[in-house]
């Protein structure tokens, strides 16, 4: 009973947050809905004993990324009405079509498995302690090359963003 409650409440909040993101008119409300989704996901991670992942989720996504979103929203002001014109021709059709295909796939899996989730998502053995150790060990031994390449990519992206945004014609402020 407690287990079901611990899953159902955060899962419900995840969906509620996602709905706020889509349907709220105010950008600040949208971003707070996203924070709700991310935080509730973190709770689900904790119930799965992945404390480290949960904390990183809170720290990076709910903490840093969303605060920056809010900062930007406030900087540009939220009074402008949302643009409802279609930028790409037929984008509504394209997105809803993809969504229907996805829903169809999921329901196909559910029905085909006879409502047995374990078949497709087998229970994974996890260790109760030392999740940061395990993640660090695999990150810095087996996956060290992709890890370093990603950090290089991020630096390139940052440098590119600065290069694009920095106006060389404007004199340097003293």
């Amino acid at each position: 009973m407690l287990e079901l409650l611990l899953f159902a409440v955060p899962a419900g909040l995840v969906i509620l947050g996602a709905l706020i993101v889509i349907f709220a008119k105010n950008p600040v409300h949208n971003s707070m809905g996203l924070v709700l989704t991310l935080a509730s996901l973190a709770i689900i991670y904790i119930t799965l004993n992945a404390t480290f992942v949960a904390m990183v989720q809170m720290l990076v996504y709910a903490g840093a990324v969303m605060t920056l979103f809010l900062f930007v929203i406030m900087m540009i002001g939220v009074d402008k009405p949302e643009q409802t014109r279609e930028e790409i021709k037929g984008q509504t059709l394209l997105v809803s079509g993809t969504l229907f295909i996805l829903i169809g796939l999921v329901s196909f899996i559910v029905v085909n498995s006879g409502f047995k989730w374990d078949l497709y998502f087998p229970a994974v053995e996890y260790s109760l302690e030392g999740t940061p150790d395990l993640i660090a060990a695999s990150l810095f031994t087996e996956w060290v090359l992709p890890f370093e390449i990603i950090s290089l990519l991020l630096i390139v992206a940052t440098a590119a963003a600065i290069a694009l945004a920095y106006d060389t014609k404007v004199r340097k402020p003293k």
Partner: protein
């Protein structure tokens, strides 16, 4: 009811009570200290030495009218004070108040950790919650629908993100040094005394406790500065700079909601000092005098030591507030990004090299 549940609920209730009563003491202490430093008397009417002044203020705030500004965003305006208060209570859950003790509950012997929640990534929990605390200030500023609170909110988001980076980076060498992200383990790793391979040096440093502040003094300095900025205290109180922004992010709040912000601010300050003491000053470690004092008193000595260390740091906070003028906004950003973060990165590199050499020896030998 299971024993775990009883223990958990008792811990939570005790921490709630401790933080609330402690805040009353803390606000009185700050007002008295600042008054003393500015040659004033400070509160002296309510109760002995004016110690009940905070209680009177709290009652006044509770009875005042709650104002909802016309242009305010209702939902966010009501959410912001709650978002301020919840993380401040939660952060204290990870601070160990002493070693584990043996108790007998319902005829069953249990070993109870004197910490709200002993999670193995306590440091990350602290950083995650302090990043959630930013929302309360930002949302309060934005939702008030008024320009001064908005300015305060925008300032807050920039300031708290900047100094959180420095704070997190300053903690990494400490984690490396202690070899764990659990607060309990970090305290344990600081027990004992400093030692040196050189005999003469050993006799000099041999009586100094092995607190992280001694090997990690640079990290301590960065963490301390960043923590003052993180709780928006003077000289980093641009978020609520009275001379420029009326009251900053909480200008439009009144009554109980204002009291919630006020409470959260002081609890955060207390938390930050307790966490600094835990990371750098050995936490609850200290002589318990178990031979001299009766056992029920010496059992409380760890908590007393943590209290002594925490209140010493709080005294420094108040001292700084009474002495230093506020930084200008560009000076604040420059200090954060151009001084603290580069220094903490260099210090992280140096610490890792020293630890690496100690662990694996020199690369050429």
């Amino acid at each position: 009811m299971s024993i775990d549940l009883i223990i958990g609920v008792t811990k939570a209730a005790l921490i709630l009570g401790l933080l609330l009563t402690n805040t009353i003491l803390l606000i009185w202490l700050e007002r008295k200290l600042v008054a003393g430093m500015q040659s004033r008397v400070g509160p002296d009417r309510a109760g002995p030495f004016g110690i009940l002044q905070t209680v009177a203020d709290a009652v006044k705030l509770l009875l005042k009218e709650q104002i909802l500004p016309l242009k305010a965003d209702r939902a966010m305006y009501l959410l912001a004070p709650i978002l301020a208060l919840v993380p401040s209570f939660l952060i204290f859950m990870i601070i160990p108040l002493g070693p584990s003790i043996d108790l007998v509950i319902q005829g069953e012997a249990v070993n109870v950790d004197l910490v709200g929640a002993n999670i193995n990534v306590g440091v990350l929990f602290f950083l995650a919650l302090s990043s959630i605390a930013v929302y309360s200030v930002v949302l309060a500023g934005w939702s008030s629908g008024s320009k001064y609170p908005l300015l305060g909110g925008v300032r807050a988001s920039a300031q708290m993100i900047s100094y959180e980076a420095a704070m997190g980076l300053a903690l990494v060498p400490v984690i490396l040094y202690s070899g764990s992200m659990s607060m309990t383990d970090i305290v344990q790793s600081q027990s004992g005394f400093l030692s040196s391979p050189i005999p003469i040096l050993d006799s000099i440093v041999g009586f100094i406790p092995k607190w992280n502040i001694f090997p990690q003094f640079v990290a301590f300095a960065i963490f301390f500065i960043a923590s003052v900025a993180e709780v928006n205290r003077a000289p980093f109180d641009l978020v609520e700079a009275e001379q420029e922004l009326v009251g900053g992010f909480h200008t439009e709040y009144s009554g109980f909601r204002f009291a919630m912000f006020f409470l959260a601010e002081y609890i955060n300050m207390f938390n930050m000092c307790a966490i600094t003491a835990t990371f750098f000053l050995g936490g609850w470690l200290g002589p318990t005098f178990s031979g001299f004092l009766p056992p029920f008193i010496s059992a409380f000595m760890p908590a007393v030591w943590l209290g002594v260390k925490t209140f010493s740091l709080l005294f420094i906070y108040v001292w700084i507030r009474a002495t230093l003028p506020r930084l200008r906004y560009d000076q604040l950003m420059e200090l954060g990004w151009k001084r603290l973060i580069p220094i903490s990165l260099v210090w992280l590199l140096l610490s890792s090299i020293v630890l690496g050499v100690r662990e694996f020896g020199l690369p050429w030998s």
